[in-house]
């Protein structure tokens, strides 16, 4: 016996005449045979469909027995019919309501999908709720913080000594050069305990979950397998990896990860057994040896507090064993939600997204939904006054207020229901793909559970229906038939509520527009901001042996397309080391770069005073130092050239001052910088300024030379202008998002304004007709209408502009790291654009009002 879903049975009970139990039996029998033939889903669908075919029978039998007080199905059917008619009768208003709701539902849905996605990270790990990361509260510079890495020895103790721990996985990230025949790639390597693959459910395409038990085995993800072996079967192939202390080992590919779910907070690339790390990289393992993260899998019924207290019994041992790290206490963080805590943890392993970000997006969605509700509220109240006679007749014929409220709510439920479907389509086809294009994650159109989807849809449907429909329904149902028929019912002349709501909307619109345009203005400013040197046509290579600098320089001289080269220890933007500098009683930290003569010229930094390093090899620049403006300012020097500072073990004379240059993604972050040029070569970077047109030749010449010098190192040019591409990507994404959101608010409030105005015109048609007949001009009629609405626009403008300006300022500094001095340009453009949109919206209605033919409007009745 396969019973159909409960909801379908319930539905059948509604529709099936009570005296026909046999019909129910037929349904159940049919369902069972269909379910065994087609599967339950299809059978349920047909069942659902079939139930509705019974409706005529229900009516047929229902009319026979008038014992029930009312026929609710008939009444609802009548209401639906009426709602559809009303909708079709005012296509413009209906369109505005449905369009408004559709856009709003689309936005809200997108926001909720994003929030839902973030709230259910790592759901593909079936053990998620029993996996915990061991983090520690540590004290550093008298500040308490949460520290992600944990002592590697802690893992050993946990796995062997506790009965409630089912598994321990220590993870350690490292770097290595992967070599395949002639190609070398620099990769991030994850060393993991053998239990890694069984505790976590990363999907495997090939291989078993026990492969990490073998020290010689390596697991690759799909992308890397394709990168290394193309279409060949990667399993059992061998790769050699040179670890960072120079030891090279061969590993056999024994398993391949499958495509990973979107919502993982960390994804492994190359996984080796942690024994490799312990045996090769870690010096004698003691309490100061750290794992990037330690995860424990607790048994189903384990008491968290007891594990916690056992964990903390190692605190003393740890603090004695590792005096550099003062652990106050250990704590277990559940994997469920771990990604969202990343911003609170120092060196987190699981990176999700900030919870606050998703709340902001979801609340913007809700805000837009509220705006759409305002619109509908206004429209419904004004359009309801056109249906007074209908209401009066209903009341006279015995309809009570409750029924009329119910009727109006019903109409609203139908509109919102339609908008829900359209909004889902909008979200699926347009908004979500658009959002994914700009967001750093790829959110699928999928809810974490069907219950959540149901809950969301039902609550949007009911809440929005009630929120936007309750007031109009109450308001309209209030009228007394006797007053309406006498013609004494006053149309709402001064609907303050409508106008306040509209004013509020306009204010939000101006706020959003001004805010997003200021943001855009700042984004443009930041995009075009100079870096203090020429970042175009410049790349750097990492070199391992300082001697390689000479060899590469020699080759460069004969390579066309290479304009100049330089060597350096550290490189502006890519590797900023710092050291402290002394001058008299002053001491502070400065960024430091040891460069070859010609480095500053190659970068094209701006020299403000003095000179660069002498290129002549005979010149002695051992005691020279070039500093930047910030350095001079920190020192408080009037004249910098010739000053002597104590830096890196030597007294050095300042020979030149350069302008500040950008060295991190943050523009506002200007640090002191010092450049030295030692005789002894310690360079780890080879910097090349090239000619864009000959980049290919430059790369191939250097690559050949590079592999001859260092066959185990990857040739990996880092283009200077791409250093902060993530920052610029984020900037554009945020810009697009704010612009889109503000366009939505403009659209919604224009819709609201249009709807309200169209109806007010309808109500005032006769008045305008009389005015025109008595000699008023079209212009004066337009003025009359404009006057009614202009104060709302002006009020919205006056309140919205300062609000938008102040609100956005914080976000600008947060996201762009620097803000442009305030200028009126974006504010003016935003205001003009919004006013233009509003004017265009109302223009047609205004002309309609001016062109009224009094003969027609006054003739009726």
């Amino acid at each position: 016996m396969i019973p159909p879903p409960k909801i379908l049975l319930w539905l059948l009970d509604r529709f099936c005449p009570p005296s026909r139990q046999d019909l129910k039996g037929d349904f159940l029998e049919l369902y069972e045979s269909r379910a065994s033939e087609w599967g339950r889903a299809r059978a349920s669908l047909r069942f659902f469909w079939d139930v509705f075919t019974v409706v005529p029978l229900r009516f047929l039998m229902g009319t026979q027995s008038i014992t029930t007080s009312l026929n609710p199905i008939g009444m609802i059917q009548h209401f639906i019919k009426l709602a559809v008619r009303v909708l079709l009768k005012n296509p413009a208003t209906s369109l505005i309501s449905i369009l408004g709701f559709t856009v709003a539902v689309g936005c809200t849905l997108t926001g909720f999908l994003y929030a839902d996605f973030l709230s259910d990270l790592d759901s593909s790990h079936s053990n998620r709720d029993h996996i915990y990361q061991v983090v520690s509260h540590v004290e550093e510079e008298s500040q308490e913080k949460i520290y992600g890495p944990s002592p590697i020895l802690l893992g050993d103790h946990l796995s062997s000594e506790h009965s409630e721990v089912a598994g321990v996985v220590r993870l350690k990230y490292g770097q290595g050069n992967v070599r395949l025949d002639t190609k070398v790639f620099r990769e991030r390597i994850l060393f993991a305990d053998p239990a890694f693959l069984s505790v976590f459910d990363f999907p495997l395409q090939q291989g078993g979950r026990a492969v990490l038990g073998q020290k010689e085995n390596v697991v690759l993800n799909k992308e890397l397998a394709i990168k290394y072996f193309g279409t060949d079967d990667p399993v059992s192939k061998t790769i050699s990896i040179k670890l960072d202390n120079g030891v090279t080992r061969s590993f056999k590919v024994m398993a391949i990860f499958d495509d990973m779910p979107e919502n993982l907070t960390f994804r492994p690339g190359i996984v080796l057994s942690i024994d490799n790390y312990l045996a090769v990289l870690a010096e004698p393992v003691d309490w100061s040896t750290e794992a990037s993260a330690t995860f424990v899998l607790l048994k189903n019924n384990a008491a968290l507090s007891s594990v916690n207290s056992l964990l903390n019994s190692y605190r003393e041992t740890q603090n004695e064993g590792n005096s550099d790290l003062a652990v106050l206490s250990f704590e277990l963080f559940s994997l469920n939600g771990l990604g969202n805590k990343a911003e609170w943890i120092d060196q987190p392993i699981a990176i999700g997204n900030s919870e606050s970000g998703s709340y902001v997006i979801a609340s913007v969605g809700v805000l837009i939904l509220v705006l759409a509700c305002f619109n509908y509220l206004n429209l419904a109240v004004s359009s309801g006054t056109g249906r007074l006679k209908e209401i009066a007749i209903r009341k006279t014929l015995g309809g009570n207020r409750r029924l009329i409220i119910f009727q109006f709510l019903m109409e609203n439920i139908i509109i919102v229901g339609g908008a829900l479907l359209l909004g889902s389509a909008l979200c699926y086809f347009l908004l979500l793909p658009g959002f994914n294009a700009i967001a750093p994650v790829n959110v699928p159109f999928k809810f974490s559970s069907p219950e959540r989807a149901m809950l969301l849809y039902l609550s949007i449907w009911l809440l929005v229906s009630l929120l936007s429909g309750a007031y109009p329904a109450l308001y309209i149902s209030k009228y007394q038939p006797s007053i309406i028929f006498k013609g004494k019912q006053k149309f709402s002349q001064n609907n303050y509520l409508s106008k306040t709501l509209l004013g509020l909307q306009l204010m939000i619109t101006f706020t959003a527009m001004v805010g997003s345009l200021i943001f855009t203005d700042n984004a443009f400013y930041v995009k075009n901001l100079g870096w203090g040197y020429d970042q175009e046509q410049l790349f750097s290579l990492r070199i391992n042996e300082p001697g390689h600098f000479e060899s590469l320089s020699n080759i460069s001289e004969s390579t066309p397309g290479i304009l100049s080269v330089a060597g350096s220890q550290g490189h502006i933007g890519e590797e900023n080391q710092s050291a402290s500098v002394d001058f008299l009683d002053k001491q502070f930290k400065t960024l430091t770069y040891d460069v070859s003569p010609g480095y500053l010229e190659t970068l094209k930094v701006t020299l403000l005073k003095g000179r660069f390093f002498e290129k002549n090899k005979a010149a002695n620049e051992e005691n020279s130092i070039v500093v930047n403006e910030e350095f001079v300012e920190k020192m408080g020097w009037e004249e910098a050239i010739g000053q002597q500072v104590f830096f890196q073990g030597k007294n050095r004379n300042v020979i030149g001052v350069i302008a500040n240059v950008r060295h991190s993604y943050a523009f506002g972050d200007s640090s002191p910088m010092a450049f030295t040029s030692s005789k002894e070569l310690r360079y780890n970077r080879f910097v090349v300024r090239y000619d864009k047109k000959q980049l290919n030749q430059v790369n191939s010449a250097l690559e050949t030379a590079f592999y001859k010098l260092a066959p185990d190192e990857p040739y990996n040019p880092v283009y200077q202008n791409e250093l902060y591409s993530g920052f610029y990507y984020n900037l554009e994404a945020n810009n697009a998002l704010t612009l889109f959101m503000s366009c939505m608010t403009v659209l919604l409030s224009c819709l609201g304004l249009y709807g309200l105005m169209a109806f007010r015109l309808q109500v005032r048609l006769k008045e305008f007709g009389i005015r025109l007949a008595l000699g008023a001009t079209g212009k004066s009629i337009i003025w009359l209408v404009v006057k009614e609405y202009s104060w709302m626009v002006i009020l919205g403008l006056l309140l919205g502009i300062p609000l938008g300006t102040t609100l956005i300022q914080g976000a600008v500094v947060d996201l762009l790291t620097i803000s442009k001095p305030f200028s009126f340009q974006p504010v003016i453009i935003a205001t003009v654009l919004t006013l233009l949109a509003i004017t265009l919206t109302v223009l047609r209605e205004l002309f309609k009002a001016a062109r009224i033919n009094p003969a027609e409007t006054l003739r009726s009745e």
Partner: protein, 114 residues
């Protein structure tokens, strides 16, 4: 014109199928039989509405079967064509036969008269 009870095409099919099924004529069986023999789909609602109407007209009579554990404990309703029902069916058949007989030779070229 004398008052005659006109049968709809669907009603006629339902009644004939009940005849075909004999003792086993209950809702779902009728539906499946029609679908099998005539290769047309019959909706549950339409069939039961038809059965209800025919019973009202007095052409069908029904009795409830025993409630069993299958079908969610719901009984089957078995139909039988009443005497007046049989009469109407016969009339309908005869009407048609008469019409067929009176078609002049050569009009239906596909079915020439023997």
């Amino acid at each position: 014109m004398t008052t005659r009870n006109n049968l709809g095409e669907f009603e006629e099919i339902v009644m004939l199928t009940i005849g075909v099924l004999g003792e086993e004529a209950y809702g779902l069986a009728i539906k499946l039989e029609i679908e099998k023999r005539l290769e047309r789909s019959v909706s549950m609602g339409a069939l039961h509405t038809g059965l209800y109407r025919l019973e009202e007209k007095g052409y069908l009579e029904s009795r409830l079967g025993e409630a069993t554990k299958v079908r969610g404990g719901k009984p089957k309703r078995f139909f039988r064509v009443t005497a007046s029902g049989q009469r109407v069916l016969k009339e309908a058949m005869e009407d048609r036969q008469k019409l067929w007989k009176d078609i002049p030779a050569g009009v239906f070229s596909l079915f020439p008269k023997s």
